[in-house]
């Protein structure tokens, strides 16, 4: 197998020079699918991997625009239409000076499997530009967005390609892009997701990732006949993901005891209840204050400032049942993982993107705890994009409860896809394998079904 991967990689590198990020992504996927290719040579025979790593279409175009002083600038626009085997291309647009073909191909490639894992009908894509929004006026950003869409509009559509936001593309940019698309096409359709609530956006977007992560944890516990009721939970972070993780945990009867920000964390032995959560939300969202104020306000909580000298994070050293890393990358290293296991934690659900180091993941997998990797556990965010598309297609907006219950349904589906797949490939309980393989299989099978296209 590694021979297969090695020869594949040689070809990939020769064909796609100067795209190191893309090479890396292909290699990781290929290696994680070793089990699949061993058992199912038909994928090899049909050159599924070779086909899947070649974008169905790459669009690269000129984006000229004029700044407020009348100077002319030219940026490069991209759209990688990676795979549409299971649905219209779907993936974000990124405006950042670091954007180039290799990075976008890498992101588009990963997006294919992420989207597939949600069980929703969404293909994979990614796009953007090397435009730097920093220091640009609203008008300049608008002119850029309009110029960008003036080319992109002919390649996308609600049934073809549905871009979303990413770095540098927020609500403002989606608005400008949507407005220009609508003007050029003379039609109001769900061609972009991340739209304003009053013009086609979906509810539950800020909540989706946190809620979804908790639903996923609940499902994992369900495999052992347990629920979150009464479980002590460590939560890191205090942004959207962490806040709504805490909210859903409270709803499901669990007892969250920690939250953190870049300066430090609080440990509230008595548990963060609804009132304290409301205070936390006001503190973080409205007053934009420091988490320390939580401890100043509630005597039951202890504040510990972040200590860069330490080789671990003490937040993960409390006695608990579940951990919800919801802050940032690599926040759980090997030592933290050991501390978690030593303190009885047996559920880890990743709300953040790649919060655990390889070392930590291996420890979790080896200890056979319920470890829900980010690509499965935090798929709620991606799923809501799919729900936005669905609502747009129906020209109908669901109320919160409806979106939430559909999200819940999706997370259950993702969970069961992971469990089933892991079982099928002889690694029961291994959500890492389950997630990697399930995402791939759905796309691969669809490609097989649809013939050589």
């Amino acid at each position: 197998m590694s021979e297969y991967v090695a020869s594949l990689m040689t070809e990939v590198k020769a064909k796609n020079p100067a795209e190191p990020e893309f090479h890396q992504a292909v290699q990781e996927v290929a290696e994680s699918l070793a089990l699949v290719f061993d058992r199912h040579p038909e994928y090899r025979h049909n050159k599924i991997l070779e086909r899947i790593l070649e974008p169905e279409r790459v669009l690269m175009f000129r984006v000229p625009w004029q700044d407020d002083q009348g100077q002319i600038h030219v940026n490069r626009g991209f759209r990688i239409e990676m795979n549409s085997a299971i649905g219209p291309y779907k993936g974000g647009l990124r405006f950042h000076p670091s954007v180039n073909l290799g990075i976008l191909k890498f992101l588009a490639f990963e997006q294919v499997f992420k989207n597939s894992l949600t069980t929703l009908p969404m293909g994979g894509g990614k796009g953007g530009s090397d435009f730097d929004p920093k220091g640009k006026s609203d008008n300049e950003v608008m002119r850029f967005c309009q110029s960008f869409m003036s080319e992109l509009f002919r390649h996308i559509g609600p049934n073809t390609d549905v871009p979303a936001g990413d770095i540098g593309v927020g609500g403002r940019e989606i608005g400008f892009l949507f407005g220009q698309y609508k003007r050029l096409r003379n039609e109001f359709t769900g061609v972009l997701t991340g739209k304003g609530l009053n013009w086609g956006g979906s509810l539950i977007r800020p909540e989706a990732t946190g809620y979804g992560c908790v639903y996923f944890a609940q499902e994992m516990l369900g495999t052992r006949g347990q629920t979150l009721e009464g479980k002590t939970c460590l939560v890191s972070g205090s942004g959207n993901v962490a806040q709504y993780t805490v909210e859903k945990l409270l709803e499901l009867g669990a007892k969250p005891v920690t939250v953190s920000d870049s300066n430090g964390y609080v440990y509230d032995e008595a548990g963060i209840d609804r009132e304290k959560l409301a205070f936390l939300m006001d503190l973080k969202n409205v007053r934009r204050g420091r988490i320390k104020e939580y401890a100043d306000k509630y005597g039951t909580a202890v504040y510990t400032p972040a200590d860069p000298k330490l080789d671990h994070c003490p937040l993960w050293s409390y006695k608990a049942d579940c951990a919800f890393p919801s802050a940032t990358q690599n926040e759980i290293n090997g030592k933290d993982a050991a501390n978690l296991l030593a303190n009885g934690v047996y559920v880890v659900a990743e709300g953040a993107n790649m919060p655990s180091t390889i070392d930590a993941i291996n420890q979790f997998v080896d200890a056979r705890i319920l470890y829900g990797p980010g690509k499965a556990a935090n798929a709620g965010g991606v799923a809501t994009s799919g729900l936005e598309m669905a609502q747009n297609s129906m020209r109908f907006g669901w109320p919160r409860e409806e979106v939430d219950s559909r999200l819940h349904r999706i997370m259950k589906d993702i969970h069961s896809a992971c469990v089933t797949t892991a079982d099928r490939f002889g690694t029961p309980g291994n959500y890492v394998n389950g997630a990697n393989i399930a995402g791939f299989l759905k796309v691969a099978d669809a490609m097989m079904d649809q013939g050589l296209v």
Binding site: K134, G135, G171, R172, R205, N263, G264, N285
Partner: protein, 995 residues
Amino acid sequence: MPSSLVRAGFRDYQDLMRYRILHILLVATPYDRFLLEEAGELSERMLGEFRNLDVHYAPGLTGVSTGAEALEQVRRQESINLIITTPHVADMHPARLAAQVKQIRDIPVVLLAWDPSELNGPAARQGSSIERAFLWQGDARILQAIVKSVEDWRNVEHDTRSVGVQVILLIEDNVRQYSSFLPLMYDELLDHSQRVITEGLNLSQKILRMRARPKVLLCTNFEEAKRAFQTYRDDVLGIISDVEFPLKPGEQPHPEAGVRFAEEVRKHYQDIPLVLHSSKPENERLARQARARFLLKGSPHLLEDLRKLLVQDFCFGPFVFRREDQEGEVDRADDLRSLEQKLHTIPPESLFFHGRHNHFSRWLKARTEFAVAHALRPRKLEDYKGDADKLRSDLIQAITDYRFERGQTVVADFDRDHFAGLGESGSDFYRIGGGSLGGKARGLAFVRRLIAQHGLRNQFDGIRIAIPTTAVLGTDVFDRFLNTGGLRAFAIDSQDDEELWRRFLATPFPEEAERDLAAFLARVRQPLAVRSSSLLEDSLHQPFTGVYDTLMLRNNAWSVAERVHQAVRAVKRVWASTFSQHAKAYLQATAFRLEEEKMAVMLQGIVGAVHGPRFYPDLSGVARSHNFYPTSPMKAEDGIVAVALGLGRAIVEGGACLRFCPRYPKHVPQLSSVAEALKSTQRDFWALRLDGASDSDGDGDGDLSMREESFGLDAAEADGTLAAVGSTYSRENDAIYDSLARPGPRLITFAPMLKHGDFPLPEILRTLMDVGHQGLGAPVEIEFAVNLQARPREFGFLQVRPLALAREMEVIEIGEVEPGAALCWSQRVLGNGRIEGIQDLVVVDFQRFERSRSREAAAEIGRLNNQLLASGTPYVLIGVGRWGSRDPWLGIPVTWDQVAGAKVIVEAGLRDLKVTPSQGSHFFQNLTSFNVGYFTINPEDGQCLLDWDWLDAQPAETARDHVRHLRLPEPVLVKMNGRKGEGVILKRDMEEPKR
């Protein structure tokens, strides 16, 4: 109109009397010099005379004995620009000397004869290079007259043309006569000028005005006099003429030349005063025919008569209102103010009479009030067609406008008996007690003048640009206080701030000053900032900003006595801060001695409005006309502004605020992404709390400085002040929307002003930065505050000071740096030049630093700094995070005195945090003005490096918990190129010392 007049006036006063006699070379035999010295200790005399007349200026004087020496001196000493020679020079005849001098440089040579007979030689003849001859008659004032006369001739053309300085023609061919007449005239002129130039002016203004005194042009023949008259006829204040003098140079005197001249003048100019003088009484008849006054030369009261004439005819006295053709006096006005008052009641015929003869205009000109004089002169009487009321109201209006505008440019001495409140006659800046205003108040006075000169006050519709009402306690009050009971010596030696404060509190406040304060506070009831304004503060090279205390007074007690009590305490507090341990430590880093420091104190109305229990301005800010870190499309010279809702504390201390470039107000880098905007914009604001405990609670240390409090944005929204500056974040849409129309967390983006032009903040700031830059001739820093609640809206221009940049930068080439040779290299460097010989480094290690303990690190640095300062050892300070940060999480919160000994400061990124250079106002100002090099290192930028490993490997002289002091075996070499913003610190000085 009035503002432009004042503008023209003030600028040109500065510009008057450009030609100055700087250095006189006196060529005389030792004996002649002995005589002169004997007669009045010559150089002392010169100095004394000039000091009386013209405070800041007296020419130097060098004596030599021979022509050869004189020529040598002329060659050697560039500054010599007048030569006075006696006829008895051993080796050279004066005429030859003069001719030879002219070959070297064009310097006027004046002959000073001892005896009239000496004047008949060739030197005094026509065609000689001798400019003028004078006769020594034992009165040293002749020297002053010579100097003034030479200067007047050279300056007259420029000065009359630029502002209309007045001219008196003195026609006299007799050397003896004019040698006695001229000193007398100058004496009278200067004396009168000094007396009339009093109203509403301070000393330095008066000195400036003295330059505008009338000039005396000495003419010795008809031809010369006629030419002079024709050239300056519109500015001739009067003519004093001999009756007999030559028609042409070199000719014999004509017996009726003066009369003929008078008749010529009268043909076209009925109202120019003429005085004829003669030794022959019978000439009086001729004078009368020419409608001229007559003076008898032989009269024992010639001097007295001349004085009378000057007062009456040359307008040096009060303005005497008369009726047409009647000698009888209707009324008189002593100064502008009373002129304005009397104009209301003067009968129409008198108004017309004076109007027709240009009396108002001439009287004003003689008082050097050219601006208003010019405004009045073009008003032709015919325009009024007999409408006396219109004439009257126009005259009054012109004078009122002018006085108001001038009030804006002058610091008036506080007059408690006449203080009627704010804005009366336009003045809002007062000095209490004598002495200096101190640096800060001087700056404010300058701002005030800029506003008036450039007509800024009403330049923007519906907005008034002004300084806040201010009273300054001059340094004399400080001195008087310190001279009580040995307080000064105690304060200088005191090591204990608490004890110092107790003594200050117990020492009585100077009585006069307290009475003035009471009068001021009886009228001024808004909250006050009590600010230091020491001699050293805000000067270009030693700014001292933030060293001394500033206190906020609510000033809202019912009784004046209580408010005076509070103010007195606050003033004492500021005085005491002059001697605090903090200030002493700071001063030690400078070249100044504590004894030299004197403290004036400003009591300044705070710009703002009452909102429930709070008082604050809608926004405060600091604008710098030079941006050290411009991002495209901005350029460094476009400047950068930091603004915040509420009091300016957030900005001064480097807290969260909004930074924008006034040329590109819609390009705000901070608002480029939603996340950045949420992180970096203001979360709270500072206001003065009006309720709560009294200002003077307790008798000991009632903490006066703690009146400022921070409030959340919800308070601002409730107060209604958020709408003008706020935006809303939508979590659902992940977007920021201008205005508060939608629900959601509020952000301070200033979008309504910057994007939608609700208030022309960028335009105003651009204008002020231009004006400030022009005024100071350097990039400037401007403090301001805005109160939108007032009508008209109030833009408080609080301060302008030079933003210290090395202006004449020596270009330092950084060149190639060998790998491993550099300790530190960056393309974000402030400062310019080479710094050699530093062997000591104070290092806060990347590995050791804990953000949670940055306060301890600051204290350790302070202790090391004091040790190094005490031993006079300069050092390089290297650390992580923002230096001087207010937020201890972002860096090490040192105050300036804790790092004052550092010659170079290196600011490196934290491991988990990118450092944005803070540009915290005071810290930054100190940095640039102490010429401390500042390196910013952000490894992810790629364009810099800092060799932590090498530092780590160096043995420590002392190592504390957070800080290490290294003494390197060899000194480092620092090179900084201020133009490119590039710099390097080399591990050792491997370059040859350059001389």
